[in-house]
Symmetry: C2
Subunit: 227 residues, 2 copies
DNA sequence: GCAAAAGTGTTGGCACTACACCCATGA
DNA sequence: TCATGGGTGTAGTGCCAACACTTTTGC
């Protein structure tokens, strides 16, 4: 067993990310246009190959920093994809992640592997390389599930924000309108928001109170929900 | 790029399974005692290395057939684990699955890699090899989550079963008692059970009606729930 | 007749939905 | 004064949890 045993088969491992952002009241996904074969010129999810000595999380964080200059928070694993033929180069295992990113933080720019990068609107997506359509679907489902059980998306807002802005964010993520009074009731009842005492400035209507997220209260209770 | 490029790093990929079963009213996990280094003699989750040419699902199904003679249904992916040092041999990626198995279907037997195999009771577990304690925790959480959203565990019952047996199964999985009247109301309201017209035989008390699971009704509605 | 499990309804609380109007502000 | 978003309460509905007794059967 120690001499004749060549060791297990080895596989290239890719890490890919479904990065969501909100812009102009709509949910967006970050896509890159491939600058190399296979699928040259096709849109794809950002990602790359895992290197020896790094964990999956480290790998995807490195790739996203290199390829898109972003550091998503939260960043959760979706799972591993291994469908035969998903990569024409051969058997490549892909571990996918889903994350949220401020759209303003990302300055789309070309790269060695990425000829172009852009935020695509959910519901108006181009055809994607590899099995990325399937991965994106899994990411979207995960985002919706997570939104219903945790206060996701607060990182996308400024430090102090109005309840109107919070509601608009959730409406963009969920893709449907929410009832204002019910939303406010639940948001305030969650006990995760603290009134900063500040109000909006320079708006052409009544100034809204600004709140901040109470990270400590959140940590002490595990899971909270806004809607 | 075609000549100087040695290609991406390659990794051994392991597939491991958290297999749950119910026996004597308690939730059990299938463990094997390792018959090889590393962790010789330690208890571990069943699993093995992925081979070239197979998907992750195929790999874990093959390993479980070889190592334990079982074919779990359902079998769902938990995700990939890559913590540094999880395998002392070096960086090994592990993709974990969670599945349900009839305890009677598994005849524990030794194997080249497994010196022994046994059903361990949740809550009275031995120390585990690798990062399997963490994987098991993820599997348990997934089982509970799945149980709350889908009629999981029906495969563990015989073709025709009583509502009492169904309730006992769910109590074992969830690890807590359930209210009989509420459970029956929801189970029958789910429209996933059909009265077979049969009753129990040879019991020292009133004979229960026996039901069967209506797979067609389940397929037509996607997700149903019993409790 | 007794042990053991089957079978059966009602109630109160809570969470969710739907819904419409006045208020403050700047242009 | 008007346009724009901020801010507020109530009523109806449905789900869920809690709860105890009678029935059937075999021994």
């Amino acid at each position: 067993m120690s001499a004749a045993w060549a060791g297990p088969d080895r596989f290239p491992v890719a890490v890919d990310a479904v990065l969501f952002g909100v812009s102009a009241g709509a949910l967006k996904v970050l896509l890159i246009r491939r600058g190399a074969e296979p699928f040259l010129g096709r849109w794809a999810l950002p990602g790359g190959f895992l290197r020896a000595g790094e964990t999956l999380e480290q790998g995807v964080v490195r790739e996203l920093a290199e390829e898109a200059g972003v550091r998503p928070d939260p960043l959760v694993q979706l799972g591993a994809f291994s469908a035969p033929g998903r990569d024409p180069r051969g058997p490549v295992l892909s571990v996918a992640f889903m994350g949220l990113v401020r759209v303003e933080d990302h300055v789309p720019h070309a790269d060695t592997d990425a000829a172009d990068a852009a935020w695509a609107t959910m519901g108006a997506l181009p055809p994607l390389a590899f099995d990325h359509a399937e991965v994106l679907k899994a990411g979207h489902e995960r985002l919706l599930a997570l939104t219903r059980s945790e206060p996701v998306g607060l990182n996308l807002l400024p430090e102090a924000f109005s309840l109107g802005a919070l509601q608009a964010l959730y409406e963009a993520i969920l893709g449907r309108p929410l009832d204002k009074r019910n939303f406010r009731r639940k948001a305030l009842a969650s006990n995760l928001l603290r009134d900063t005492g500040l109000t909006q400035l320079g708006v052409a209507h009544r100034a809204a109170r600004l709140y901040r997220f109470d990270a400590e209260a959140f940590a002490n209770r595990g899971a909270g929900i806004f809607l």
